[in-house]
């Protein structure tokens, strides 16, 4: 698997959530994602970018365009130096929230992606990686 192109963008406020959505949308269109796949990726990106703002205050997203043989895809990596998640299993459960939201962000983003990985621990920040193939 090869990373064809990548770009990193800072997330510091809720305005950046809008910018992240636009960036994900542009790359998905460029790669020829269907409208439904675009919408799923953009929605997942929105949830994860908002999580960064809500829980860590700031962080970044790296977007990568992937080639895997004939497959084309997009990988989004959200990273922050926030408080981390002590209990990932609980955080992935629908309806569980500590941020006053609906508690759908993490689990929802996982369902909207083909691949999902999370690397976090209390006090160590959070890194969430999602991939969606065309």
């Amino acid at each position: 698997m090869a990373v064809v192109r990548h770009e990193t963008r800072a997330i510091t406020s809720s305005d950046d959530v809008v910018a992240i959505r636009q960036l994900a949308r542009d790359w998905a269109i460029e790669l020829g994602f269907s409208l439904v796949d675009q919408t799923k990726l953009v929605t997942a990106a929105s949830e994860l970018a908002r999580n960064v703002v809500t829980y860590a205050g700031a962080g970044q997203m790296r977007i990568e365009s992937l080639n895997d043989g004939p497959k084309r895809g997009l990988r989004l990596v959200f990273e922050d130096q926030g408080p981390g998640i002590p209990d990932v299993e609980k955080a992935l459960r629908d309806g569980y929230t500590t941020g006053g939201g609906l508690g759908l962000g993490l689990g929802g983003a996982k369902r909207l992606s083909n691949e999902f990985a999370i690397d976090t621990a209390a006090g160590r920040g959070t890194k969430v990686t999602i991939t969606r193939w065309r």
Partner: protein, 127 residues
Amino acid sequence: MERIPILKMGDCLLVTIQVDMHDRLAMTLQEDLTEKIAHTRARGVLIDISALEMVDSFIGRMLSFIASMARVLDARTVVVGMRPAVAITLVELGLPLTGVHTALNVEKGMELIRADDQGAVNGRRQA
């Protein structure tokens, strides 16, 4: 300051969301809408989201919040014009949209509010 316009159509209020929602705009809309419902004694609120390319849990929460707020002020809320790709994504996201009615377009939404209102009036008569 940026604001989402609220139009009065008979005894309904029509809100067309055309821009990418961010926090401040959502808060302003909630405040403007409550004031307008109370002021105009509207029976229904139609929220047209046909221009929205995605609905995430933040926007979903705003829609549910508006619906419960309107309910307390004796008005029904109908979300109209959701794009098919958005609907598919919402279901996968698992968004409940509590208390929010939906209709395919503004016209159907108006019918829903009128029918609901009529039902409530008849109900009161029978009681």
